[in-house]
């Protein structure tokens, strides 16, 4: 009995449905959805933390939440949003869409991909388990020494932080390496670097940033943990350690991390703008180069977080200049998008509204960002609520608005149903108004002298009204986010109209296959000739489900195509691994090791090590080759 090509591919690629598949999947699309679900759950947790804080700060001298709980809340809010929401959320979209956008059938290392997800989930649970014993991290997401030294915070709060982030770092690192290799080696034939979708450029830039920035954070955390648990003195001033060293190590990671968060979001914007402006993006090459330039200059600005620590003037002048310089690639991007929108004929669907909201909010965050590069201004305003306002405009405006745009843009592709447009617009306006009402008054609070990270304030300082406005705004914002969630659960998962392969008239390859795509993504690996393959090559529009060139279907085995780094010339046929439990077992073993380090119980460490090594051995066992 002869199978058609798509039946044959179906047989080769489809994973058994059920719980087993949830745990053993190596399909980038399933893993992408795992990431998105989990990251959204952390987003809700971080949001609840924020609402509790805003409730406590709504009026002066409130005692709803004591200082201990408040400090844990603001620390966990930052840690959650930065490490467990934004990056994993964007990695989730990256996981799902990078292979589709480049015409591949999976990520380069599917098992490593699954492993990265499980580590992320377990690290998140590890970090949140701290609440169960009432010892959540309480020294902020920045965890400055000497407050985080054993002498001043002897309890486990800080150990959860250091171990949790080293733990999570494994996930982010393997994820980034996987993206880099996937993007450089698995692009469809003809998709040379200068034809790559801008979202893919952004994920590439971010992944390189992670690989170079994260070791600094991991290192700092290992050093601090050695200080705390093994009597080392890297940060112990009394024994000749240095308190500023932590700040350098942290921000050498921390500032590039801003771009690690921001760049993929920018990539989302660059994907959405041309589709809803109904024209090619203007300045493709400029945008691609701006992305890479931002990633590189992002490594040269970390000291602007430390202008008040008493640094030499010359060094401050240098970092002031670098911090101003990094505005330029962002400005290029803003004006390229504006030019595209003005030259196009925009269609006002929800994803595009979120992009317009992003443009407005991000520009406000951008100009206040430039202010921090002016050293004397920074020294006045740093560590005040002005900073809280600024980075929420940059991070919520710069990353979360695009994430919502991506949800409205890509959910129809991922689950096959269109979201409700009316609810979509309602959610946009609630979020836009709520966001500005929450965070704009914080600029003024900062200028009025309200410092960050305080659990209460006295009446009569002129801060009351602005704080109340911010607290009311936070509820409006939360309501908007709730509408997005309801829209997804109600319409995205079942009730929404069928999306069809291409609901938006998109320009990139993910719209050339069904919604949701089959396990093998495309029946035929496409041959790409430009930056907007679906607009330029009508023959590609049904490449997801119809084979023309049997050679390009690679239906002999569980295969995808390897191509050359720069020009994407076909180079090899790569056989991809099948679903397996080895990644989750290995990740579980590593989690046990970290629990062992937390509790300092050697048997647990050994047990975890045995599980992890066993999992890895099963993982790496060579498959017998067919004769």
């Amino acid at each position: 009995m002869a199978l058609t090509v798509d039946e044959r591919l179906e047989e080769l690629w489809e994973e058994e449905p059920g719980l087993g598949s949830v745990l053993s999947t190596v399909d980038h699309k399933s893993i992408g959805k795992h990431y998105i679900y989990t990251a959204f759950a952390f987003f809700l947790a971080g949001g609840v933390e924020a609402l509790l804080m805003r409730t406590q700060l709504a009026r002066p001298d409130l005692h709803l939440i004591g200082p201990e709980a408040f400090n844990e809340l603001f620390s966990m809010h930052g840690i959650t949003m930065i490490f467990f929401f934004v990056t994993p959320m964007l990695f989730g979209f990256g996981n799902y869409f990078v292979p589709l956008l480049i015409g591949a059938r999976d990520m380069a290392f599917p098992r490593l991909n699954a492993f990265g997800y499980w580590i992320f989930l377990f690290a998140g649970l590890f970090m949140y388990s701290s609440f169960l014993i009432g010892r959540a991290p309480n020294d902020g997401w920045f965890n400055y020494v000497t407050l985080s030294n054993h002498q001043f915070t002897p309890a486990l709060n800080i150990d959860y932080y250091t171990l949790g982030l080293v733990f999570l770092g494994i996930s982010t690192t393997v994820g980034s390496i996987n993206f880099i290799v996937t993007i450089l080696k698995l692009r469809a034939p003809g998709m040379s670097l200068n034809r790559m979708p801008l979202f893919v450029w952004a994920i590439l830039a971010t992944s390189f940033s992670v690989v170079f920035a994260l070791p600094s954070l991991t290192m700092a955390n290992v050093m601090l943990e050695l200080d705390r648990r093994a009597g080392f003195n890297f940060f112990n001033v009394a024994k000749g350690g240095d308190a500023i060293l932590w700040q350098h190590l942290f921000w050498i990671f921390g500032h590039p991390d801003v771009y690690i968060i921001f760049l993929p979001a920018v990539g989302i914007v660059s994907s959405i703008v041309p589709v809803f402006s109904r024209r090619k993006i203007i300045g493709y090459l400029w945008l691609a180069l701006a992305t890479m330039t931002t990633a590189i200059i992002g490594f040269g600005v970390w000291v602007h977080h430390m202008f008040a620590t008493g640094l030499p003037t010359l060094s401050m002048a240098f970092f002031s200049a670098a911090s101003m310089l990094i505005t330029i690639p962002s400005a290029i991007q803003i004006f390229a998008w504006l030019a595209t929108i003005i030259a196009g004929k925009p269609v006002f669907k929800t994803p595009f509204l979120f992009v317009l909201g992003f443009l407005f909010v991000f520009v406000i965050g951008g100009v206040t960002g430039v202010m921090f590069a002016a050293v004397p201004f920074d020294q006045q305003i740093t560590d005040s609520y002005f900073v809280v306002a600024h980075f929420h405009y940059v991070l919520f405006g710069g990353a979360v608005f695009p994430i919502f745009a991506a949800i409205y843009y890509w959910v129809p592709k991922m689950w096959g149903h269109l979201l409700h447009e009316g609810l979509g617009k309602l959610s946009f306006w609630l979020i836009f108004v709520g966001f500005n009402l929450t965070f704009f008054p914080m600029h003024i609070l900062g200028l009025l002298g309200m410092p960050r990270r305080i659990y209460t304030y006295h009446a009569g300082l002129g801060w009351d009204g602005y704080n109340l406005a911010a607290s009311i705004g936070s509820s409006v914002l939360a309501l908007g986010i709730l509408v997005v969630l309801v829209n997804f659960l109600l319409y995205g998962l079942r009730r929404g109209a069928p999306a069809g392969p291409d609901p938006w008239g998109g320009d990139s390859l993910e719209w050339a296959t069904s919604s949701p795509p089959p396990a093998y993504n495309f029946v035929e690996i496409p041959k790409v000739q430009g930056t907007e393959p679906l607009w330029d090559q009508p023959e590609l529009r049904d490449i997801g489900f119809r084979a023309r060139d049997v050679e390009m279907t690679l239906a002999e085995g569980h295969d995808t195509m390897g191509t050359t780094v720069v020009d994407a010339e076909p180079e090899s046929v790569l056989t991809m691994p099948e679903a397996t439990y080895t990644p989750i077992v290995t990740a579980f073993g590593i989690s046990v090791v970290f629990v062992g380090f937390l509790t300092l119980l050697l048997p647990i460490i050994v047990l975890g090590g045995v599980i992890a090594i066993g999992g890895m051995m099963a993982w790496l066992r060579p498959k017998e080759l067919p004769e």
Partner: protein, 286 residues
């Protein structure tokens, strides 16, 4: 800076509005209008380069203008951050106080900033930018008030549980008033003759208070908490937690934990009569 920022935001908003205006005639999808590249390069490169160059030069100018005061400071004050209060020392005059920084009006004052424990940051928004106090380091800054008054300051670097209640006041006095204050601070307080005050002093020196607090002229010489020698003239109790009134002082002595949870002062067991005497005595220490 704010004006330029507002102009940039306005410009982008106008361009967004231009972008989303209703179109009368549709443009071809492939046509790239000639002005579009100009908009991108002009707005994205030329405009920021010009504005930022000017801003950077102004930044350098202000940095050098602010780095040293016009005249060399005659007075030096050492401020030492503690969890969660401020120790204030006038090394030349040998005066020690806490949570209030008295300075003379119209002249620059040098501040030596250090910390006894974790990082803090010295910030008086109305007078000057902030400078961090970092473990193992000495940072210096200068401060000048041009008008007499009480200026509120607050710790700006997160320092743990009671970061919110690490407040201080800069009291800027006219030169004569400052000199009067200084000469008073240099004297130990007058030994009380009033029996209630004597009883209060007795209660103080025979209690656990002396383990942490110093009152000059008595046997109390603890160094853990603020020096209380001239407590009666301080603006606040508990580093800005509450105003310095007799009622607040009583509450603070009996249970400071309910006012400033987590501070290291334990509740003090005293009977009502002793408490009254103690309050009167401490408030008399001008």
């Amino acid at each position: 800076m704010f004006a330029v920022s507002a102009a940039v935001i306005l410009l982008v908003t106008v361009l967004i509005l231009v972008g989303i205006r209703p179109r009368l005639k549709a443009r071809s999808e492939l046509e790239t209008p000639p002005w579009s590249k100009a908009l991108m390069v002009g707005g994205g490169v030329i405009f920021p380069v010009v504005v930022l160059s000017v801003l950077w030069v102004l930044t350098l100018h202000d940095m050098s203008a602010l780095s040293v005061p016009a005249t060399s400071p005659a007075l030096t004050v050492n401020v030492i951050g503690h969890q969660w209060w401020w120790e204030v020392r006038y090394p030349t005059q040998g005066v020690v106080t806490a949570n209030d920084v008295h300075i003379p009006v119209g002249q620059p004052v040098r501040l030596n900033l250090t910390t006894a424990d974790v990082n803090h940051s010295f910030w008086v928004p109305q007078l000057t930018a902030k400078t961090d106090m970092i473990a193992g380091r000495l940072n210096t800054m200068w401060l000048q008030a041009d008008k007499p008054g009480v200026y509120r300051g607050q710790c700006a670097e997160y320092c743990g549980l009671q970061h919110a209640n690490m407040i201080f006041y800069v009291v800027a006095d006219a030169r004569v008033a400052f000199a009067r204050w200084m000469s008073q601070e240099r004297q130990p307080p007058v030994q009380p003759s009033d029996p209630t005050l004597q009883q209060g002093q007795q209660a103080f020196v025979t209690s656990a208070c002396t383990a942490c607090h110093t009152i000059q002229g008595t046997t109390a010489n603890g160094r853990v908490g603020p020096d209380l020698t001239h407590f009666g003239s301080r603006v606040s109790i508990g580093a800005g937690a509450v105003p310095n009134t007799a009622g607040n002082l009583g509450g603070w002595i009996i249970d400071s934990q309910s006012i400033k949870p987590g501070n290291i002062m334990p509740p003090i067991q005293v009977d009502a009569r002793q408490l009254q005497a103690l309050i009167q005595y401490l408030e008399s220490l001008k």
